[in-house]
């Protein structure tokens, strides 16, 4: 049994036994869903269906229904894409990077954060696909032999790197998540009383029996997957940033993009995790497992990555002046003082100022304040991508071509729709899946549980 310092706050509050953990996690799945769940699900579904409607209209009519023009060929779609991919990054960071660092607090949040990752990457993947306009030829992005002779996709293009990065990221995250879910599904299966749910969970649990050898393999597979997912998560957002950084557009052509984007992704992802978990812990009665300490740890991550993002903004600004390139400096002066100053201002306030408030222990331990900041950060990070993408291209080299981007209602509908669809997926997950890695949480009960830490023989040697 692993011991930890007595002054460390316990990760599991109250006097829980192994059985209590099973009960606490499985009860919301086995009980009838509360009215609130149906209400939220209904709202999310309506918004999601509206989004689907907008997408169908877009596919039927063409990309012209977006507010794009000759100068601004990329705007909301790619902004939303990068925003969603960024949100996805927290899940893998929590489950993979924190596993490698042996951070035990990840166990209470990794399952739902990974679910969030997967659903966020689904939403992200939608945007490049619908931007093709002709969804049905989406498979052309793959290097498949075709009827046009020796025509292959361009492996020198960051857009193709992105295809590989996002699909690898999505499928590897999915596998990582599912491998962890199998033993927990087995727990639900063995408790299930209704024949239908017994059948469903026994299919989902793949016949898991918890043999010692299987657990031995399970631990190694988790470790190796974490080892593979860690560089993967850094590579994915680096590659997303290459979409811009490898171009020659002032404002995009920036060598600090990869680390800056990765930090921003983790920053926004943790904010989304906070938004979701603060509601979920309350709604599902998981306050003993996800409590102030977990929130505080996540706020520290937000503070650190927010500071990196802030540093990157200032560096960018400084370098644009220091480079002596007129176009480069103009891109940044225009960002801050041009017609999109309000977007730049929102980005700076939400992403640079707000995380700095987390230096104050009282604030970063306040759940209401955290929830508020998490929303602010989500908004700020959306503006960051909008600022980078739109302000860099709306005034190019020829003033005659200068233009403004105004989103059409389809732009807005598709974006809002993806938020709806995301919540549809997440609510289904919260209803039918174990939202806590319950069997993993049991492994830390004796080391980090409150009742064990307070018992007199905790610090005796075994």
């Amino acid at each position: 049994m692993q011991k930890e310092a007595a002054i460390r706050e316990p990760l599991i509050l109250g006097h829980k036994t192994y059985h209590d953990i099973t009960e606490d996690v499985c009860r919301p799945i086995e009980d009838k869903a509360p009215k609130m769940w149906y209400t939220l699900f209904g709202i999310a579904l309506i918004i999601g269906l509206y989004g689907v409607g907008c997408i169908l209209y877009l596919l039927g009519t063409g990309i012209g229904v977006w507010g794009l023009n000759k100068t601004i060929g990329w705007a909301w779609d790619i902004t939303n894409f990068v925003w969603w991919v960024g949100i996805g990054h927290a899940g893998t960071l929590i489950s993979a990077v924190l596993l490698l660092f042996r951070q035990k607090w990840r166990m209470a949040i990794n399952r739902s954060a990974e679910a969030m990752t997967i659903f966020a990457v689904f939403m992200a993947g939608l945007f490049p696909l619908i931007h093709m306009g002709r969804l049905w030829v989406g498979y052309w992005v793959l290097p498949l032999p075709n009827q046009f002779g020796s025509l292959w996709v361009n492996f020198n293009s960051p857009l193709l790197w992105d295809v590989f990065a996002i699909s690898t990221y999505l499928s590897v995250s999915l596998v990582f998540w599912y491998i962890g879910l199998i033993p927990d599904f087995a727990t639900i299966r063995d408790r299930a009383k209704k024949p239908l749910s017994k059948k469903m969970y026994s299919i989902l649990s793949f016949g898991w029996s918890g043999r010692a050898k299987h657990w031995n393999r399970f631990e190694l597979v988790s470790l190796v997957l974490a080892g593979l997912a860690t560089p993967l998560v850094f590579s994915v957002h680096s590659i997303v940033s290459f979409d811009f950084a490898t171009s020659v557009i002032p404002g995009w052509h920036t060598t600090i993009f990869p680390p800056y984007f990765v930090a921003g992704a983790v920053f926004s992802g943790f904010a989304m995790v906070q938004t979701l978990l603060l509601v979920m812990r309350k709604a599902m009665g998981l306050e003993a497992y996800i409590h102030t300490k977990h929130v505080e740890y996540m706020n520290i991550v937000i503070m650190v990555t927010g500071s990196i993002v802030g540093t990157a903004y200032i560096t960018e600004l400084f370098i644009s002046w220091y480079s002596g390139v007129e176009y480069e400096s103009y891109a940044f002066i225009n960002r801050a003082t041009g017609p999109y100053w309000w977007a730049y201002f929102s980005m700076m306030t939400c992403n640079v100022v707000s995380p700095q408030l987390m230096w104050i222990p009282k604030l970063r331990r306040s759940l209401m304040f955290t929830f508020f900041i998490s929303i602010v950060v989500n908004i700020g990070m959306w503006f960051e991508r909008y600022v980078i993408i739109v302000t860099s291209i709306h005034r190019d080299y020829i003033p005659a071509a200068w233009s403004m981007h105004f989103p059409s209602h389809i732009d807005i509908g598709v974006y809002i729709g993806t938020i709806g669809l995301f919540f549809v997926f997440f609510l289904l997950f919260a209803r039918f899946f174990p939202v806590l890695a319950l069997n993993e949480v049991k492994t830390i009960l004796k080391g980090s549980g409150q009742s064990y830490k307070e018992s007199p023989d905790y610090h005796k040697h075994h």
Partner: protein, 178 residues
């Protein structure tokens, strides 16, 4: 050949580990342990070797890297060399840097999926497989040790019962199997 299986249930992981240690030191062979979560340190006690799935992941990764390298060399260099912005692809090395991201992604893709599939196949945990844990509580808060009489020829059933009683188990269940 008929055999008798004894399922000894404990309500604590440490209790199971301690008694497994005692039993093994008395020469009892424990054929299996079922638990709701990994019991750290049980593997060497009951003689379970460390898995070699890590080596497999490495091999799958190498395979992915090779496929990606050969593939991109074929697509971009030999089959249809594209001249992009005056930077032609005459050799693989000319263009290697542009191939790094996909080589990496494909390596990870193959390693992760190859290992995951091997893991599921080796465990025989696949959709539709029946559960084999002797008691539904072993996925909740109980820990079960499986001892087979046929694997313990030197020990009589009575002797074994005596040894087990000393370990302070939670429940004991015996089953005849043919």
């Amino acid at each position: 050949m008929s055999d008798k299986v004894i399922y000894v249930m404990y309500d604590d992981d440490e209790a199971l580990k301690d008694s497994a240690k005692k039993l093994v030191s008395k020469g009892v062979k424990i054929s299996e342990v079922f638990s709701p979560f990994p019991i750290h340190g049980i593997d060497p006690i009951i003689g379970i070797k460390n898995t070699r799935l890590g080596i497999m992941a490495f091999l799958y990764g190498i395979t992915g890297l090779t496929v990606a390298t050969l593939g991109m060399r074929y697509f971009m260099v030999s089959d249809w060399p594209m001249n992009i912005g005056g930077k032609p692809n005459f050799t693989y090395l000319d263009n290697m840097l542009a191939f790094v991201p996909i080589s990496f992604e494909f390596t990870v893709l193959c390693a992760a999926h190859g290992m995951a599939i091997t893991y599921l196949l080796r465990n025989k945990t696949l959709p539709g497989m029946p559960a084999q844990n002797p008691d539904p509580r072993t996925t909740d808060d109980k820990f079960v040790m499986e001892i087979r009489l046929n694997e313990n020829h030197g020990i009589t059933e009575a002797e074994l019962d005596e040894m087990l009683k000393e370990t302070g188990f939670f429940e004991l269940d015996k089953k005849e199997i043919n």
